[in-house]
Protein backbone atom coordinates (compact mmCIF):
# COMPACT_ATOMS: atom_id res chain seq x y z
CA UNK A 1 0.00 0.00 0.00
CA UNK A 2 2.70 2.45 1.03
CA UNK A 3 4.84 1.57 -1.95
CA UNK A 4 1.92 1.93 -4.32
CA UNK A 5 1.22 5.38 -2.88
CA UNK A 6 4.89 6.28 -3.27
CA UNK A 7 4.82 5.39 -6.96
CA UNK A 8 1.58 7.27 -7.57
CA UNK A 9 2.81 10.39 -5.80
CA UNK A 10 6.18 10.23 -7.54
CA UNK A 11 4.50 9.91 -10.91
CA UNK A 12 2.31 12.94 -10.21
CA UNK A 13 5.31 14.95 -9.02
CA UNK A 14 7.41 14.22 -12.09
CA UNK A 15 4.54 14.64 -14.55
CA UNK A 16 3.60 18.01 -13.05
CA UNK A 17 7.22 19.15 -12.91
CA UNK A 18 7.47 18.39 -16.62
CA UNK A 19 4.24 20.30 -17.12
CA UNK A 20 5.80 23.36 -15.47
CA UNK A 21 8.62 23.40 -17.99
CA UNK A 22 6.71 22.35 -21.07
CA UNK A 23 3.50 24.37 -20.91
CA UNK A 24 3.47 27.54 -22.96
CA UNK A 25 1.15 29.59 -20.81
CA UNK A 26 2.85 30.90 -17.64
CA UNK A 27 -0.37 30.59 -15.63
CA UNK A 28 -0.55 26.90 -16.51
CA UNK A 29 3.07 26.55 -15.39
CA UNK A 30 2.20 28.06 -12.03
CA UNK A 31 -0.75 25.68 -11.63
CA UNK A 32 1.45 22.70 -12.43
CA UNK A 33 4.00 23.93 -9.90
CA UNK A 34 1.28 24.05 -7.23
CA UNK A 35 0.37 20.44 -8.05
CA UNK A 36 4.05 19.53 -7.77
CA UNK A 37 4.17 21.01 -4.29
CA UNK A 38 1.16 18.93 -3.36
CA UNK A 39 2.86 15.78 -4.58
CA UNK A 40 5.97 16.64 -2.57
CA UNK A 41 3.80 17.17 0.49
CA UNK A 42 2.40 13.71 -0.17
CA UNK A 43 5.95 12.37 0.04
CA UNK A 44 6.46 14.12 3.37
CA UNK A 45 3.29 12.54 4.73
CA UNK A 46 4.47 9.13 3.59
CA UNK A 47 7.61 9.76 5.66
CA UNK A 48 5.36 10.72 8.63
CA UNK A 49 6.60 14.30 8.55
CA UNK A 50 3.16 15.90 8.80
CA UNK A 51 4.40 19.26 9.98
CA UNK A 52 6.76 19.66 7.05
CA UNK A 53 4.01 18.56 4.66
CA UNK A 54 1.49 21.13 5.85
CA UNK A 55 4.03 23.93 6.12
CA UNK A 56 5.11 23.18 2.57
CA UNK A 57 1.51 23.67 1.47
CA UNK A 58 0.89 26.79 3.57
CA UNK A 59 4.10 28.56 2.62
CA UNK A 60 4.75 27.46 -0.95
CA UNK A 61 1.40 26.46 -2.41
CA UNK A 62 -0.61 28.91 -0.34
CA UNK A 63 1.49 32.06 -0.06
CA UNK A 64 4.39 32.17 -2.49
CA UNK A 65 2.53 30.74 -5.47
CA UNK A 66 -0.35 33.16 -4.92
CA UNK A 67 2.15 36.01 -5.24
CA UNK A 68 3.64 34.37 -8.37
CA UNK A 69 0.16 34.14 -9.83
CA UNK A 70 -0.42 37.78 -8.91
CA UNK A 71 2.61 38.96 -10.83
CA UNK A 72 1.95 36.78 -13.85
CA UNK A 73 -1.70 37.78 -14.06
CA UNK A 74 -0.92 41.49 -13.79
CA UNK A 75 1.85 41.31 -16.37
CA UNK A 76 -0.62 39.64 -18.73
CA UNK A 77 1.89 37.19 -20.19
CA UNK A 78 0.32 35.08 -22.88
CA UNK A 79 1.46 32.08 -24.82
CA UNK A 80 2.20 34.22 -27.87
CA UNK A 81 4.18 36.72 -25.79
CA UNK A 82 6.92 34.15 -25.38
CA UNK A 83 10.02 35.33 -27.27
CA UNK A 84 10.91 33.11 -30.23
CA UNK A 85 14.44 31.83 -29.83
CA UNK A 86 16.61 31.02 -32.80
CA UNK A 87 17.44 27.44 -33.78
CA UNK A 88 21.06 27.89 -32.68
CA UNK A 89 20.09 28.91 -29.14
CA UNK A 90 17.61 26.04 -28.87
CA UNK A 91 20.25 23.58 -30.07
CA UNK A 92 22.87 24.93 -27.66
CA UNK A 93 20.41 24.76 -24.78
CA UNK A 94 19.43 21.18 -25.51
CA UNK A 95 23.07 20.16 -25.86
CA UNK A 96 24.27 21.72 -22.60
CA UNK A 97 21.24 20.53 -20.66
CA UNK A 98 21.64 17.01 -22.03
CA UNK A 99 25.34 17.03 -21.13
CA UNK A 100 24.55 18.03 -17.55
CA UNK A 101 21.91 15.31 -17.35
CA UNK A 102 24.43 12.75 -18.66
CA UNK A 103 27.07 13.78 -16.10
CA UNK A 104 24.56 13.62 -13.24
CA UNK A 105 23.29 10.24 -14.39
CA UNK A 106 26.84 8.85 -14.65
CA UNK A 107 27.74 10.17 -11.22
CA UNK A 108 24.57 8.83 -9.60
CA UNK A 109 24.91 5.42 -11.20
CA UNK A 110 28.18 4.57 -9.49
CA UNK A 111 27.70 6.60 -6.31
CA UNK A 112 27.29 4.53 -3.15
CA UNK A 113 24.28 6.00 -1.41
CA UNK A 114 24.08 4.68 2.11
CA UNK A 115 20.49 4.30 3.25
CA UNK A 116 19.37 6.80 5.84
CA UNK A 117 19.68 5.61 9.42
CA UNK A 118 16.13 5.56 10.72
CA UNK A 119 16.01 6.12 14.46
CA UNK A 120 12.33 6.72 15.20
CA UNK A 121 9.22 7.08 13.15
CA UNK A 122 8.03 10.23 14.88
CA UNK A 123 10.88 12.56 14.12
CA UNK A 124 8.73 14.70 11.83
CA UNK A 125 5.85 15.21 14.23
CA UNK A 126 5.40 18.78 15.38
CA UNK A 127 6.18 18.24 19.08
CA UNK A 128 9.48 16.47 18.40
CA UNK A 129 10.45 18.93 15.71
CA UNK A 130 9.76 21.86 18.02
CA UNK A 131 11.85 20.34 20.81
CA UNK A 132 14.80 19.77 18.51
CA UNK A 133 14.54 23.23 16.98
CA UNK A 134 14.44 25.01 20.32
CA UNK A 135 17.13 22.97 22.10
CA UNK A 136 19.79 21.53 19.80
CA UNK A 137 19.42 24.00 16.93
CA UNK A 138 18.26 27.12 18.73
CA UNK A 139 21.12 29.35 17.53
CA UNK A 140 20.84 28.61 13.79
CA UNK A 141 17.07 28.87 14.12
CA UNK A 142 17.18 32.32 15.70
CA UNK A 143 19.87 33.56 13.31
CA UNK A 144 17.80 32.52 10.32
CA UNK A 145 14.82 34.38 11.77
CA UNK A 146 16.94 37.53 12.05
CA UNK A 147 17.99 37.00 8.44
CA UNK A 148 14.33 36.91 7.38
CA UNK A 149 13.57 40.03 9.36
CA UNK A 150 16.40 41.95 7.75
CA UNK A 151 15.25 40.77 4.33
CA UNK A 152 11.76 42.05 5.11
CA UNK A 153 13.03 45.45 6.24
CA UNK A 154 15.27 45.59 3.18
CA UNK A 155 12.33 44.92 0.88
CA UNK A 156 10.33 47.72 2.52
CA UNK A 157 13.19 50.20 2.17
CA UNK A 158 13.86 49.28 -1.45
CA UNK A 159 10.14 49.53 -2.16
CA UNK A 160 10.05 53.00 -0.60
CA UNK A 161 12.86 54.33 -2.81
CA UNK A 162 10.47 55.43 -5.53
CA UNK A 163 9.07 58.52 -3.81
CA UNK A 164 12.26 60.42 -3.03
CA UNK A 165 10.86 63.48 -1.16
CA UNK A 166 8.91 61.36 1.32
CA UNK A 167 11.59 58.79 1.72
CA UNK A 168 12.99 59.72 5.11
CA UNK A 169 9.61 60.22 6.70
CA UNK A 170 8.15 57.09 5.22
CA UNK A 171 10.96 54.76 6.20
CA UNK A 172 11.08 56.37 9.61
CA UNK A 173 7.42 55.57 10.07
CA UNK A 174 7.93 52.03 8.94
CA UNK A 175 10.70 51.37 11.41
CA UNK A 176 8.75 53.17 14.07
CA UNK A 177 5.96 50.69 13.48
CA UNK A 178 8.40 47.83 13.92
CA UNK A 179 9.84 49.27 17.12
CA UNK A 180 6.34 49.75 18.34
CA UNK A 181 5.88 46.03 18.63
CA UNK A 182 9.07 45.50 20.56
CA UNK A 183 9.20 48.57 22.69
CA UNK A 184 6.18 50.73 23.35
CA UNK A 185 8.25 53.27 25.25
CA UNK A 186 9.78 54.52 22.03
CA UNK A 187 6.42 55.86 20.95
CA UNK A 188 6.52 58.62 23.52
CA UNK A 189 9.87 59.87 22.27
CA UNK A 190 8.28 60.54 18.91
CA UNK A 191 8.84 59.29 15.41
CA UNK A 192 11.87 61.48 14.83
CA UNK A 193 13.93 59.61 17.38
CA UNK A 194 14.06 56.66 15.03
CA UNK A 195 15.26 58.50 11.98
CA UNK A 196 18.98 57.81 12.43
CA UNK A 197 18.13 54.14 12.57
CA UNK A 198 16.41 54.26 9.27
CA UNK A 199 19.35 55.93 7.61
CA UNK A 200 21.90 53.46 8.86
CA UNK A 201 19.70 50.58 7.78
CA UNK A 202 19.29 52.01 4.32
CA UNK A 203 23.00 52.77 3.99
CA UNK A 204 23.90 49.28 5.02
CA UNK A 205 21.63 47.86 2.40
CA UNK A 206 23.06 50.10 -0.25
CA UNK A 207 26.55 49.07 0.77
CA UNK A 208 25.58 45.42 0.43
CA UNK A 209 24.01 45.81 -2.94
Amino acid sequence: MQEALFWIVSFIAIACALGVVLSRNPVHSVLFLILTFFAISGHYILMNAQFLAIVNIIVYAGAIMVLFLFVIMLMNLNADAEPQKSRLVQFAGALSGGALFLVLLAAMRTAALSPLEKTTNDIGLVANLGKVLFTDYVLPFEISSVLFLSAMIGAIIIGKKGDAPNREVASGEQLDGMDNLVNTEQLSTGANANLPNAFTEADELEAIS
Partner: protein, 356 residues
Protein backbone atom coordinates in the same frame (compact mmCIF):
# COMPACT_ATOMS: atom_id res chain seq x y z
CA UNK B 1 4.22 3.96 9.07
CA UNK B 2 1.63 1.28 8.75
CA UNK B 3 -1.33 1.74 6.51
CA UNK B 4 -3.55 -0.92 7.90
CA UNK B 5 -7.06 0.09 6.90
CA UNK B 6 -9.86 -2.34 7.58
CA UNK B 7 -13.00 -2.37 5.54
CA UNK B 8 -15.22 -1.54 8.52
CA UNK B 9 -13.10 1.53 9.27
CA UNK B 10 -13.32 2.64 5.65
CA UNK B 11 -17.10 2.24 5.52
CA UNK B 12 -17.50 4.08 8.83
CA UNK B 13 -15.44 7.01 7.59
CA UNK B 14 -17.19 7.16 4.23
CA UNK B 15 -20.59 7.29 5.94
CA UNK B 16 -19.32 10.01 8.27
CA UNK B 17 -17.88 12.05 5.38
CA UNK B 18 -21.15 11.72 3.45
CA UNK B 19 -23.22 12.82 6.41
CA UNK B 20 -20.95 15.82 7.12
CA UNK B 21 -20.83 16.82 3.46
CA UNK B 22 -24.59 16.72 3.02
CA UNK B 23 -25.08 18.30 6.41
CA UNK B 24 -22.91 21.27 5.53
CA UNK B 25 -24.56 21.57 2.12
CA UNK B 26 -27.96 21.56 3.82
CA UNK B 27 -26.94 24.16 6.38
CA UNK B 28 -25.44 26.32 3.63
CA UNK B 29 -28.63 25.99 1.61
CA UNK B 30 -30.77 27.17 4.48
CA UNK B 31 -28.23 29.85 5.32
CA UNK B 32 -29.16 31.53 2.02
CA UNK B 33 -32.79 31.46 3.12
CA UNK B 34 -31.81 32.64 6.60
CA UNK B 35 -29.80 35.52 5.21
CA UNK B 36 -32.81 36.78 3.27
CA UNK B 37 -35.04 36.44 6.28
CA UNK B 38 -32.55 38.32 8.48
CA UNK B 39 -32.22 41.06 5.87
CA UNK B 40 -35.99 41.24 5.58
CA UNK B 41 -36.46 41.47 9.33
CA UNK B 42 -33.93 44.30 9.51
CA UNK B 43 -35.54 46.16 6.66
CA UNK B 44 -39.05 45.58 7.96
CA UNK B 45 -40.37 43.45 5.12
CA UNK B 46 -41.55 39.82 4.98
CA UNK B 47 -38.73 38.33 2.88
CA UNK B 48 -39.21 35.16 0.78
CA UNK B 49 -42.66 33.77 1.58
CA UNK B 50 -44.04 32.32 -1.65
CA UNK B 51 -42.30 28.95 -2.06
CA UNK B 52 -43.66 26.73 0.68
CA UNK B 53 -44.55 27.74 4.24
CA UNK B 54 -42.44 30.73 5.34
CA UNK B 55 -40.65 30.45 1.98
CA UNK B 56 -38.87 27.33 3.22
CA UNK B 57 -38.64 25.89 -0.29
CA UNK B 58 -36.94 29.03 -1.61
CA UNK B 59 -33.41 27.50 -1.65
CA UNK B 60 -34.67 24.62 -3.79
CA UNK B 61 -36.36 27.03 -6.16
CA UNK B 62 -33.15 29.05 -6.38
CA UNK B 63 -31.10 25.95 -7.11
CA UNK B 64 -33.52 24.84 -9.79
CA UNK B 65 -33.44 28.29 -11.35
CA UNK B 66 -29.65 28.33 -11.46
CA UNK B 67 -29.52 24.86 -13.03
CA UNK B 68 -32.03 25.85 -15.70
CA UNK B 69 -30.20 29.02 -16.74
CA UNK B 70 -28.16 29.08 -19.91
CA UNK B 71 -24.51 28.44 -19.34
CA UNK B 72 -22.22 30.96 -20.95
CA UNK B 73 -18.47 30.60 -21.23
CA UNK B 74 -16.97 33.81 -22.58
CA UNK B 75 -15.06 33.59 -25.86
CA UNK B 76 -11.88 35.19 -24.58
CA UNK B 77 -11.65 33.01 -21.48
CA UNK B 78 -9.24 30.18 -20.76
CA UNK B 79 -11.82 27.45 -20.79
CA UNK B 80 -10.55 24.83 -18.36
CA UNK B 81 -9.35 27.36 -15.81
CA UNK B 82 -12.71 29.11 -16.10
CA UNK B 83 -14.38 25.82 -15.15
CA UNK B 84 -11.73 25.00 -12.52
CA UNK B 85 -12.39 28.23 -10.58
CA UNK B 86 -15.80 27.39 -9.06
CA UNK B 87 -14.74 23.76 -8.58
CA UNK B 88 -11.78 24.86 -6.47
CA UNK B 89 -13.96 27.26 -4.52
CA UNK B 90 -16.36 24.44 -3.59
CA UNK B 91 -13.54 21.97 -2.90
CA UNK B 92 -11.64 24.18 -0.50
CA UNK B 93 -14.89 25.22 1.18
CA UNK B 94 -15.79 21.65 2.09
CA UNK B 95 -12.27 20.37 2.89
CA UNK B 96 -11.94 21.94 6.34
CA UNK B 97 -14.88 19.97 7.74
CA UNK B 98 -12.66 16.86 7.86
CA UNK B 99 -10.88 17.78 11.08
CA UNK B 100 -13.67 19.33 13.13
CA UNK B 101 -14.76 17.09 16.02
CA UNK B 102 -18.54 17.12 15.71
CA UNK B 103 -19.17 15.19 18.90
CA UNK B 104 -17.66 12.87 21.51
CA UNK B 105 -16.85 9.25 20.78
CA UNK B 106 -19.75 6.81 20.69
CA UNK B 107 -19.11 3.44 22.31
CA UNK B 108 -21.21 0.58 20.98
CA UNK B 109 -20.20 -2.53 22.90
CA UNK B 110 -16.47 -2.84 22.30
CA UNK B 111 -16.52 -0.68 19.20
CA UNK B 112 -15.75 3.05 19.38
CA UNK B 113 -16.98 5.39 16.69
CA UNK B 114 -15.30 8.78 16.42
CA UNK B 115 -17.39 11.69 15.18
CA UNK B 116 -14.37 13.27 13.53
CA UNK B 117 -13.16 12.28 10.10
CA UNK B 118 -9.45 12.65 10.86
CA UNK B 119 -7.81 13.52 14.17
CA UNK B 120 -4.54 14.76 12.69
CA UNK B 121 -2.01 16.17 15.13
CA UNK B 122 -1.54 19.26 12.97
CA UNK B 123 -5.25 20.12 12.96
CA UNK B 124 -4.99 23.90 13.10
CA UNK B 125 -2.22 24.04 10.52
CA UNK B 126 -4.45 22.02 8.22
CA UNK B 127 -7.11 24.72 8.55
CA UNK B 128 -4.54 27.32 7.55
CA UNK B 129 -3.39 25.19 4.64
CA UNK B 130 -6.91 24.93 3.27
CA UNK B 131 -7.55 28.60 3.99
CA UNK B 132 -4.51 29.68 2.01
CA UNK B 133 -5.65 27.53 -0.89
CA UNK B 134 -9.12 29.07 -0.84
CA UNK B 135 -7.79 32.10 -2.66
CA UNK B 136 -7.11 30.10 -5.82
CA UNK B 137 -10.75 29.57 -6.69
CA UNK B 138 -11.35 33.32 -6.71
CA UNK B 139 -8.07 34.23 -8.39
CA UNK B 140 -8.27 31.68 -11.19
CA UNK B 141 -11.92 32.39 -11.84
CA UNK B 142 -11.32 36.11 -11.98
CA UNK B 143 -8.32 35.80 -14.26
CA UNK B 144 -9.82 33.24 -16.62
CA UNK B 145 -12.90 35.41 -17.18
CA UNK B 146 -10.74 37.78 -19.22
CA UNK B 147 -12.50 40.78 -17.78
CA UNK B 148 -10.61 43.58 -16.13
CA UNK B 149 -13.17 44.06 -13.38
CA UNK B 150 -13.00 40.37 -12.53
CA UNK B 151 -9.20 40.51 -12.48
CA UNK B 152 -9.15 43.58 -10.23
CA UNK B 153 -11.63 41.96 -7.91
CA UNK B 154 -9.68 38.71 -7.69
CA UNK B 155 -6.45 40.60 -6.97
CA UNK B 156 -8.25 42.46 -4.21
CA UNK B 157 -9.65 39.27 -2.75
CA UNK B 158 -6.26 37.58 -2.77
CA UNK B 159 -4.35 40.45 -1.20
CA UNK B 160 -7.03 40.81 1.44
CA UNK B 161 -6.91 37.10 2.27
CA UNK B 162 -3.12 37.09 2.51
CA UNK B 163 -3.08 40.18 4.75
CA UNK B 164 -5.64 38.90 7.20
CA UNK B 165 -4.22 35.38 7.35
CA UNK B 166 -1.20 36.81 9.18
CA UNK B 167 -3.14 38.41 12.01
CA UNK B 168 -5.33 35.31 12.25
CA UNK B 169 -2.29 33.08 12.56
CA UNK B 170 -0.65 35.21 15.23
CA UNK B 171 -3.92 35.38 17.20
CA UNK B 172 -4.06 31.59 17.13
CA UNK B 173 -0.45 31.21 18.30
CA UNK B 174 -1.52 32.68 21.65
CA UNK B 175 -4.27 30.05 21.88
CA UNK B 176 -1.84 27.29 20.94
CA UNK B 177 0.58 28.37 23.65
CA UNK B 178 -2.19 27.79 26.18
CA UNK B 179 -3.41 24.50 24.72
CA UNK B 180 0.01 23.03 23.94
CA UNK B 181 -1.50 21.01 21.12
CA UNK B 182 -2.45 21.52 17.50
CA UNK B 183 -5.09 18.80 17.53
CA UNK B 184 -8.63 20.11 17.54
CA UNK B 185 -9.82 17.08 19.51
CA UNK B 186 -7.38 17.88 22.32
CA UNK B 187 -8.34 21.55 22.29
CA UNK B 188 -12.02 20.68 22.63
CA UNK B 189 -11.37 18.23 25.44
CA UNK B 190 -9.42 20.89 27.35
CA UNK B 191 -12.56 23.04 27.35
CA UNK B 192 -14.59 20.33 29.07
CA UNK B 193 -17.83 21.48 30.67
CA UNK B 194 -17.99 25.18 31.40
CA UNK B 195 -16.26 25.73 34.75
CA UNK B 196 -12.99 24.13 35.76
CA UNK B 197 -10.41 24.89 38.46
CA UNK B 198 -12.15 28.09 39.52
CA UNK B 199 -12.40 29.63 36.08
CA UNK B 200 -14.33 29.29 32.84
CA UNK B 201 -12.91 26.47 30.78
CA UNK B 202 -13.79 27.88 27.36
CA UNK B 203 -10.91 29.58 25.60
CA UNK B 204 -12.93 32.70 24.79
CA UNK B 205 -12.67 33.65 28.47
CA UNK B 206 -8.93 33.02 28.51
CA UNK B 207 -8.22 34.63 25.15
CA UNK B 208 -10.85 37.37 24.64
CA UNK B 209 -8.57 39.56 22.53
CA UNK B 210 -7.41 36.58 20.49
CA UNK B 211 -11.01 35.66 19.79
CA UNK B 212 -11.88 39.18 18.74
CA UNK B 213 -8.95 39.34 16.29
CA UNK B 214 -9.85 35.89 14.97
CA UNK B 215 -13.45 36.96 14.45
CA UNK B 216 -12.53 40.09 12.51
CA UNK B 217 -10.09 38.12 10.38
CA UNK B 218 -12.75 35.49 9.75
CA UNK B 219 -15.03 38.18 8.35
CA UNK B 220 -12.23 39.31 6.06
CA UNK B 221 -11.31 35.79 4.98
CA UNK B 222 -14.92 35.05 4.11
CA UNK B 223 -15.19 38.20 1.99
CA UNK B 224 -18.26 39.17 3.99
CA UNK B 225 -19.39 42.71 4.65
CA UNK B 226 -17.78 44.94 5.93
CA UNK B 227 -14.82 43.39 4.08
CA UNK B 228 -16.52 42.38 0.82
CA UNK B 229 -14.27 44.59 -1.27
CA UNK B 230 -14.02 41.86 -3.88
CA UNK B 231 -17.70 42.26 -4.63
CA UNK B 232 -17.97 46.03 -4.41
CA UNK B 233 -20.58 46.45 -7.12
CA UNK B 234 -20.30 50.21 -7.31
CA UNK B 235 -16.60 49.98 -8.20
CA UNK B 236 -16.25 46.61 -9.90
CA UNK B 237 -19.66 46.01 -11.51
CA UNK B 238 -20.06 42.73 -9.68
CA UNK B 239 -16.78 41.14 -8.73
CA UNK B 240 -14.77 38.08 -9.66
CA UNK B 241 -17.86 36.12 -10.70
CA UNK B 242 -19.13 38.70 -13.14
CA UNK B 243 -18.72 36.51 -16.22
CA UNK B 244 -20.16 33.43 -14.57
CA UNK B 245 -23.66 32.21 -15.16
CA UNK B 246 -25.86 29.28 -14.28
CA UNK B 247 -24.63 26.84 -11.63
CA UNK B 248 -21.01 28.00 -11.83
CA UNK B 249 -22.15 31.30 -10.38
CA UNK B 250 -24.25 29.26 -7.97
CA UNK B 251 -21.16 27.39 -6.81
CA UNK B 252 -19.31 30.61 -6.07
CA UNK B 253 -22.22 31.98 -4.08
CA UNK B 254 -22.78 28.66 -2.38
CA UNK B 255 -19.11 28.25 -1.46
CA UNK B 256 -19.36 31.48 0.53
CA UNK B 257 -22.17 30.03 2.65
CA UNK B 258 -20.34 26.73 3.18
CA UNK B 259 -17.27 28.70 4.22
CA UNK B 260 -19.41 30.65 6.64
CA UNK B 261 -20.75 27.44 8.17
CA UNK B 262 -17.32 25.83 8.46
CA UNK B 263 -15.61 28.88 9.91
CA UNK B 264 -18.42 29.23 12.44
CA UNK B 265 -17.77 25.62 13.40
CA UNK B 266 -14.03 26.31 13.70
CA UNK B 267 -14.64 29.33 15.92
CA UNK B 268 -17.10 27.43 18.08
CA UNK B 269 -14.58 24.60 18.39
CA UNK B 270 -11.54 26.72 19.17
CA UNK B 271 -13.05 29.36 21.43
CA UNK B 272 -16.52 28.30 22.54
CA UNK B 273 -15.84 24.80 23.75
CA UNK B 274 -16.99 22.89 20.66
CA UNK B 275 -19.56 20.32 21.74
CA UNK B 276 -19.02 21.02 25.46
CA UNK B 277 -21.82 22.57 27.49
CA UNK B 278 -22.42 23.45 31.17
CA UNK B 279 -23.31 20.54 33.43
CA UNK B 280 -22.36 18.03 30.75
CA UNK B 281 -20.92 15.64 33.37
CA UNK B 282 -24.29 15.29 35.06
CA UNK B 283 -26.03 14.78 31.72
CA UNK B 284 -23.42 12.21 30.71
CA UNK B 285 -23.97 10.36 33.97
CA UNK B 286 -27.71 10.26 33.43
CA UNK B 287 -27.48 9.08 29.84
CA UNK B 288 -24.27 7.06 30.13
CA UNK B 289 -20.98 8.36 28.76
CA UNK B 290 -20.41 7.28 25.19
CA UNK B 291 -24.07 6.63 24.46
CA UNK B 292 -25.69 7.70 21.22
CA UNK B 293 -28.04 10.10 23.00
CA UNK B 294 -25.17 11.92 24.70
CA UNK B 295 -23.41 12.28 21.34
CA UNK B 296 -26.62 13.57 19.79
CA UNK B 297 -27.01 16.23 22.47
CA UNK B 298 -23.39 17.27 21.98
CA UNK B 299 -23.84 17.58 18.23
CA UNK B 300 -26.97 19.67 18.76
CA UNK B 301 -25.10 21.93 21.20
CA UNK B 302 -22.34 22.46 18.65
CA UNK B 303 -24.91 23.21 15.95
CA UNK B 304 -26.60 25.79 18.19
CA UNK B 305 -23.28 27.57 18.65
CA UNK B 306 -22.60 27.40 14.92
CA UNK B 307 -26.00 28.82 14.05
CA UNK B 308 -25.49 31.62 16.56
CA UNK B 309 -22.26 32.53 14.76
CA UNK B 310 -23.97 32.38 11.37
CA UNK B 311 -26.66 34.74 12.63
CA UNK B 312 -23.93 37.10 13.85
CA UNK B 313 -22.33 37.05 10.39
CA UNK B 314 -25.69 37.91 8.86
CA UNK B 315 -26.54 40.63 11.36
CA UNK B 316 -23.20 42.32 10.70
CA UNK B 317 -23.66 42.09 6.96
CA UNK B 318 -26.92 44.01 7.04
CA UNK B 319 -25.88 46.67 9.53
CA UNK B 320 -22.32 47.76 8.77
CA UNK B 321 -21.29 49.51 5.55
CA UNK B 322 -18.30 48.43 3.48
CA UNK B 323 -14.76 49.60 4.24
CA UNK B 324 -12.70 51.54 1.75
CA UNK B 325 -9.76 49.59 0.39
CA UNK B 326 -7.04 51.61 2.14
CA UNK B 327 -9.00 51.40 5.40
CA UNK B 328 -9.11 47.64 5.02
CA UNK B 329 -5.35 47.38 4.54
CA UNK B 330 -4.61 49.82 7.36
CA UNK B 331 -6.83 47.88 9.73
CA UNK B 332 -5.16 44.61 8.84
CA UNK B 333 -1.53 45.65 8.87
CA UNK B 334 -1.41 48.53 11.31
CA UNK B 335 -4.01 47.55 13.90
CA UNK B 336 -4.73 43.84 13.93
CA UNK B 337 -1.19 42.51 13.48
CA UNK B 338 0.35 44.68 16.24
CA UNK B 339 -2.60 43.84 18.46
CA UNK B 340 -2.18 40.14 17.79
CA UNK B 341 1.57 40.35 18.47
CA UNK B 342 0.86 42.18 21.74
CA UNK B 343 -1.64 39.50 22.69
CA UNK B 344 0.91 36.80 21.91
CA UNK B 345 3.64 38.47 24.00
CA UNK B 346 1.33 39.00 26.98
CA UNK B 347 0.10 35.41 26.81
CA UNK B 348 3.66 34.11 26.66
CA UNK B 349 4.64 36.29 29.62
CA UNK B 350 1.69 35.15 31.70
CA UNK B 351 2.38 31.49 30.95
CA UNK B 352 6.04 31.94 31.95
CA UNK B 353 4.99 33.69 35.16
CA UNK B 354 2.50 30.94 36.02
CA UNK B 355 5.07 28.22 35.41
CA UNK B 356 7.54 29.73 37.87
Amino acid sequence: MLLAISLAFLIEKIILITVILFGSLGVAMYATWGERKVAAAMQDRPGPNRAGPFGLLQPLADGLKLFMKEEIIPNGSTRWIFILGPCLAMLTATMTSAIIPWGPDITLGSHTISLQVADVNIGILYIFGVLSLGVYGVMLGGWASNNKFSLLSSVRAASQAISYELAMGIALIALLMMSGSLSLRTIVEQQHGFWQDGYFSWYVFKQPLGFFIFLVCAFAELNRTPFDLAEAENELNMGYHQEYSSMKLGFYLFAEYINMFISSAVMATLFFGGYNFPFMDQVAQALGAGSVWMALICVIVLMIKVIAFILLFMAVRWTIPRFRYDQLMNLGWKSLIPLALFNMLVTGGVILWLLK
